[in-house]
């Protein structure tokens, strides 16, 4: 017992500094952030440590392992302890245990504190179960690397390559699914979550045991990998290749390109309207004149889909009101608008002028029959009143138009191009805030005369929500803590309430964040395939992600398409899709994925 106590004392004295540093980073810094939040916004004190732990906890464990092993494998020190009557196995087991305890503590304690301070996020709760095993596996890989290589910098590089392999190899090799770390971040929403977690834990424990045995054997039998510059360079190269190869596999374009139509330089597709045979493509081009003034040039092109493929007509530049019409139209669902039934060339938008006493205006765009011009009219609805956070919602049903903001304005649109105000009364509706991917009930706004379906559409007429009435699916995108997409299916609709059941949720993985699109700008759903289009201002990184809502694990990405300036997606009835960016592509459906 005296020997064990001695070894424990030594290892603790040498390694405890990592405990303080780790807790300082993973707990201390989030606490500072939490305090700042509390003072600035009178928010209840809580911390947000989980992103730090998930991203860097493994790296930290790695450094602890490398430092503790290499320290006693320096030539002179090694001679010292080897010449003492202490077994190698005992010495290094104690070293392993102390370092592991510190690493797991640093990873778990911040999560526990976050959980206790109120964030009873289901994912966080589950993470408390699997995170220690991930930490143990990563620590053990670095432990083995340290025992084999014995030089800290070189061992750290090799351990980093090992860490990336653990993160990314299961994405590429299906039999390794049980140790797929990326899948653990939304495990709560999968069937058999407990089984998945237990399998993951066992898999990681297995890796830890194997690596521990390898490390002990390396020290016992003096196995050594000669660490030199080539190993370092090799590790750096391997790290980069692993990342790229995995990204290529997971995020590589797998939607087959059936046809590509070139657009002139600078012109980008803003939106596509297509009925299956014919349609219109709206393109925009940023033009800077000699004085440095910028303007956007909008062009229309007719779109025909023949057996031979896409055919784009000649461009027609539109200016003035017509340009405004199509520019508005190109903004898609970001700007709430309504179209009277049976009149696709008319649409209404409501806007708030916050600088002018919160004046609310109704705009009516009406494209003339010859498509050569647009008639536009405005009606002032109300002014004053409380500041409105969102653009008013607007819905058309039958011969009525409803604008819902701080007041409810009802219009008669028997003549669609000349809406007539019927009434304007005070109105309040609490907007739906994002829920996590659980079942929820949505109280519908009380709008007399508007059917439940229309009121549901109004309630989900927000920049982050996409309600697809044909599929009765609601999707939400969020950029809180990275890009996320969630989907629900409408299970019950009464006059007052809509009940949604979760279909699934997707959270951006590390790779997708590294290589992937910024926040989702818009979504389009057809036949169970959800096309998520990135924010089109980000030319640097963009790809379309196709989610399969039908498969056994929704939402899992089923397809990717990377191309410059992607802004619009128009799925076709036969599973193909038109994707507009710097060019226009006709792509096939994604390959079957589970």
């Amino acid at each position: 017992m005296g020997q064990l106590k001695s070894l424990l004392w030594k290892e603790w004295r040498e390694t405890r500094i990592f405990l303080w540093i780790g807790l300082g980073i993973f707990l201390g810094l989030p606490c500072v952030g939490g305090l700042e939040n509390t003072f600035q916004s009178a928010h209840r004190f809580d911390i947000f440590a989980s992103p730090w732990v998930f991203m860097f906890g493994g790296v930290f464990a790695m450094f602890v392992a490398v430092a503790t092993t290499c320290r006693d494998l320096v030539i002179g020190i090694e001679e010292f302890w080897r010449s003492r009557p202490v077994g190698v196995v005992r010495w290094f087991l104690m070293k392993y245990a102390v370092g592991l305890a510190i690493s797991v503590t640093v990873c778990v304690v911040p999560l526990v504190v976050e959980w206790m301070l109120g964030s009873r996020d289901s994912e966080l709760t589950l993470a408390l179960a699997w995170m220690p095993f991930l930490c143990a596996a990563l620590y053990s890989v670095a432990f083995a690397a340290g025992c084999l290589i014995r030089r800290p910098a070189h061992a750290a590089m090799l351990a980093l390559a090992g860490l990336l392999l653990i993160y990314f190899l299961p994405l590429v090799v299906p039999p390794l699914w049980i140790v797929n770390t990326m899948a653990m971040f939304d495990v709560g929403f999968r069937d058999g979550a407990v089984f998945i977690i237990v399998s993951f834990a066992l898999g990681m424990a297995g890796i830890a045991v194997v690596m521990l045995a390898l490390g002990i054997a390396a020290v016992r039998y003096r196995w050594r990998i000669d660490a030199g510059r080539r190993l370092m360079y090799g590790a750096v190269g391997a790290v980069l290749l692993i990342i790229f190869a995995t990204a290529g596999y997971q995020l590589g374009t797998n939607l087959p390109v059936l046809q590509e139509v070139h657009l002139p330089d600078g012109e980008t597709v803003a939106n596509i309207r297509f009925d299956g045979q014919r349609g219109t493509v709206v393109t925009t081009q940023l033009v800077v004149d000699d004085l440095g003034r910028e303007s956007i040039v909008i062009r229309l092109r007719s779109l025909d889909l023949t057996p031979a493929g896409i055919q784009l007509g000649e461009p027609r530049k539109v200016v003035g009101r017509l340009a405004g019409y199509y520019w508005n139209w190109a903004q898609k669902e970001r700007v709430p608008r309504a179209t009277p039934p049976g009149n696709p060339d008319v649409f209404y938008t409501a806007s708030i002028d916050w600088w002018a006493d919160n004046e609310c205006w109704l705009g009516t765009y009406s494209l003339r029959a010859d498509k050569s011009a647009v008639d536009y009219s405005e009606i002032k609805l109300w002014s004053g009143g409380p500041a409105e956070v969102r653009t008013p919602r607007i819905q058309a049903s039958g011969d009525r138009l409803y604008v819902m903001g701080s007041q409810l304005a009802t219009f008669d649109i028997t003549n669609p191009t000349a809406p007539r105000l019927i009434s304007c009364v005070a109105f309040s509706f609490h907007p739906r805030y994002g829920a996590d991917a659980t079942a929820f009930s949505l109280t519908l706004p009380g709008v007399p005369g508007l059917p439940a379906e229309g009121r549901l559409r109004a309630a989900t007429q927000t920049p982050d929500d996409y309600y697809f009435p044909d599929d009765r699916v609601l999707c939400e995108d969020s950029d809180a803590g990275g890009s996320q997409v969630a989907a629900w299916r409408l299970s019950k609709l009464t006059d007052n309430v809509a009940v949604f059941q979760p279909i699934g949720q997707w959270k951006e993985t590390f790779l997708e964040e590294l290589f992937g699109a910024e926040t989702v700008e818009s979504m389009t759903l057809r036949d169970g395939l959800l096309y998520a289009v990135p924010w089109h201002h980000s030319a640097a990184k963009n790809f379309v992600t196709v989610f399969d809502l039908r498969g056994p694990h929704p939402l899992s990405p089923a397809g990717h398409f990377g191309a410059p300036g992607i802004s619009a997606v128009c799925p076709l009835p036969d599973g193909r899709a038109l994707i507009g960016g710097n060019q226009l592509w006709l792509v096939g459906p994604p390959p079957t994925r589970h």
């Binding site: 040498e14 020190i77 001679e79 010292f80 010449s83 009557p85 202490v86 077994g87």
Partner: protein, 314 residues
């Protein structure tokens, strides 16, 4: 004393038979035979690269021999390494200790590993070596560090102490002090000491026996006194060269000018052989340094070292 104890008392503390060891096709030990009786101070001599440290590491089970047998205190270092290390005190060449520990902490840390650790004795040694208990190892001088390592080697009252060039890097004053400390400990203790060093003139006063290792083989193993008595230098006129070259046990012969000098390993046999030689032959005593030189670099032909030898003769 029982028969077993008597046997244990008389059986060698270190025994090597036909030990071979190679590192990447370079043979370092080429059949080493060695036997160290108990209760003696044994000097282990050899040039750089002779295989001394390799041999010592094998005694502690830190290296496995390619062939042959190694026994320390009757135990096999490959099988019973821990037991050997409990009973042996080891001071490595240029010892490295845990720099962050204080001296006292290092002693407390090391103590549980040795069942025979004598805390009182350790304290006495610490006082005698004037070691600052609260100072971190990394702040100690070289001499102090070596003393700490010596304390660790002695505090558990080992049956055998193995010292691998322990005075390496110490200045002459410190070396003297170190040896004084060592000798002080050895006096009155019937501890076997296996001492490897380059500094033969310092070993000479303390070594009971000497073994010389050269190019992976034991060249000579004998009590120091016997070695000094047997190994002599003979100086004669040049005309006696042929006779000297024919002497049994010839280690070295060199010619300069009108004289020839020969070092022999067995003076008695040499005298017998020279009875018939009419020319005058002068005998000279040699110190351990010179004996070592003769064994290790001595040549029986014309040697580049000839001038050096004869300069000393003259």
């Amino acid at each position: 004393m029982s028969q077993t104890t008597a046997n244990q008392a008389s059986s060698p503390v270190i025994e090597l038979r036909g030990v071979r060891k190679s590192f990447r096709r370079k043979e370092v030990l080429r059949g080493v035979d060695l036997s160290v009786p108990p209760g003696q101070t044994f000097a282990f001599l050899g040039r750089n690269g002779a295989g001394k440290t390799t041999t010592i590491r094998m005694l502690l089970g830190l290296l496995r021999p390619d062939a042959g047998q190694v026994r320390v205190l009757g135990l096999d270092p490959q099988r019973d390494a821990l037991e050997i290390r409990r009973r042996v005190g080891y001071l490595a060449e240029d010892p490295v200790l845990f720099g962050w520990m204080r001296v006292g902490q290092l002693l407390s840390f090391t103590r549980p590993f040795y069942p025979t650790w004598d805390q009182t004795w350790a304290g006495e040694l610490a006082d005698r070596f004037e070691l600052p208990m609260e100072t971190r190892i990394k702040y100690l001088s070289k001499g102090q560090s070596v003393r700490v390592a010596l304390l660790l080697a002695l505090a558990h009252r080992p049956e055998l102490v193995i010292l691998d060039d322990p005075t390496l890097g110490l200045d002459p004053i410190m070396r003297k002090e170190f040896l004084r400390d060592l000798v002080t400990y050895l006096q009155g203790e019937r501890v076997s000491v296996f001492f490897s060093s380059h500094l033969l003139y310092e070993i000479e006063p303390v070594a009971d026996s000497v073994v010389i290792l050269d190019r992976g083989r034991v060249v000579i193993q004998a009590p120091t006194e016997q070695l000094r008595a047997d190994v002599k230098r003979l100086i004669a006129p040049l005309d006696a060269e042929a006779a000297l070259r024919d002497l049994p046990g010839l280690l070295d012969v060199s010619v300069r000018g009108r004289q020839v000098a020969a070092v022999v390993s067995d003076i008695a046999a040499a005298r017998t052989a020279l009875v018939a030689c009419p020319l005058p032959v002068q005998e000279m005593d040699l110190n351990l340094d010179e004996i070592f030189e003769a064994y290790v670099i001595g040549q029986t032909k014309e040697s580049p070292h000839a001038e050096a030898h004869l300069e000393r003769v003259e």
